[in-house]
Symmetry: C2
Subunit: 236 residues, 2 copies
């Protein structure tokens, strides 16, 4: 009875992830389905349905769903199965306040470490890629480079726990950011912000690195929230 659902699981996703355990596989696949909007906000399915779709038993699916619930991507309510959580503007505000706080701390930590040019290389490259992508109006590539920049920065902060928390919140916001990517003003000054940030980090200017990134995130958050409000988008 769970044979087909409104949204089918594409074959690629079904096989490409050759992970270790079924639980890990289930977690990865479901997460990807959600991030890619293949399972849109509000999408519901019972444990058994998900299990059938993924070709495994309920046990690992159940475990994966519990993890995803902790990750803030789904909610699991008895008798109704899992449900992909929609993101409201107020959720986005919460997320952006957290990201602003933690990422600027990451910038400060990175600046305090007096990194070598070698270590800064990754940030430089990502910045350059963002620039290039922007020139070509290739927003998808820009987003990729931007993501790389942020991940590098987190890595360079040296704080592993901070990194994993931030990556989780980036996941939560992913869908909304992708959906609005092409609606918001081109991120022209984003590149400049990033370049300035790299310089501050290179100079070991903790204060400045933190401030630049805080302002950068604040602005981005405000723009995004304004957009959501203007468009009346309430649950994404």
């Amino acid at each position: 009875m769970a044979a087909e659902k409104a949204i089918e699981v594409s074959a690629e996703i079904k096989d490409e992830v050759a992970a270790k355990t079924m639980t890990a596989t289930a977690h990865l696949k479901i997460r990807q389905l959600i991030l890619d909007n293949k399972w849109p906000p509000g999408y519901q399915a019972t444990e058994q349905e998900v299990a059938s779709m993924l070709g495994m038993s309920r046990t690992p699916v159940r475990e994966a769903l519990m993890r995803l619930q902790q990750d803030g991507l789904v909610s699991v309510v008895p008798r109704h199965g899992m449900r992909v959580l929609p993101i409201s503007p107020s959720d986005m505000k919460e997320i952006y306040d957290i990201l602003t706080s933690l990422e600027s701390t990451a910038a400060e930590l990175a600046a305090a470490r007096h990194l070598t040019e070698e270590q800064l290389k990754g940030l430089e490259r990502a910045t350059a890629d963002m620039d290039k992508a922007l020139e070509r109006d290739d927003l998808d590539r820009w987003a990729q480079a931007d993501a790389r920049f942020h991940e590098q920065l987190l890595e360079l902060s040296g704080n592993k726990m901070l990194k994993s928390v931030v990556l989780n919140f980036i996941d939560r916001a992913h869908r909304v950011r992708m959906l609005t990517l092409k609606m918001r003003p081109k991120p022209v000054n984003s590149t400049r912000d990033h370049a300035e940030l790299v310089n501050a980090i290179r100079a070991g200017d903790v204060e400045k690195a933190g401030t630049i990134h805080r302002e950068h995130r604040r602005r981005a958050g405000r723009e995004l929230l304004d957009l959501l409000e203007r468009l009346g988008l309430n649950h994404l």
Copy 2:
């Protein structure tokens, strides 16, 4: 064969938590055993052993252990069961950097909300209790009041996700803080800091609220790390 372990599960803990599901029960009980240091850092047990101790099957225990792993309290390694994670000084630094960042953000958010006296009541009471406890040299009670203060502050920030992240990191650091509570200098200026913070929040002074709390946490973190280093405590 799992009948008795070096460390027995006390009867109170075994029964007092009458939660809904076995999984939730297991999670709560194990968490409590770890926070109370009944299962000290490095403590190991197989799924089956834990299940026997808690009087349930492996299934809910397994689920609980996965959650606790995400919470950063245990690690689960195949064939060796769960292991209570020790906290190193470098872990403590990571945790304190995160707490400093997020809690000062919480203070800023609270200040920005222009709270009513009614809402500030909880903070006032907690501060007063800290004072009283300190006068009586009752550090346990002081710690309780301190915890209440921080939880109230998080609540007043209005950011639920931030609150839950912070509470998780407070959990991770709990053991170390309790162990060092009586070794570090009496938190005499802590009360003053908190009173000042409440005033800044009352006045709606975002900048000041953030700064005060940031400095407060930074100082506390430094003191704690210095202590750990002086005592050569490496895994708690």
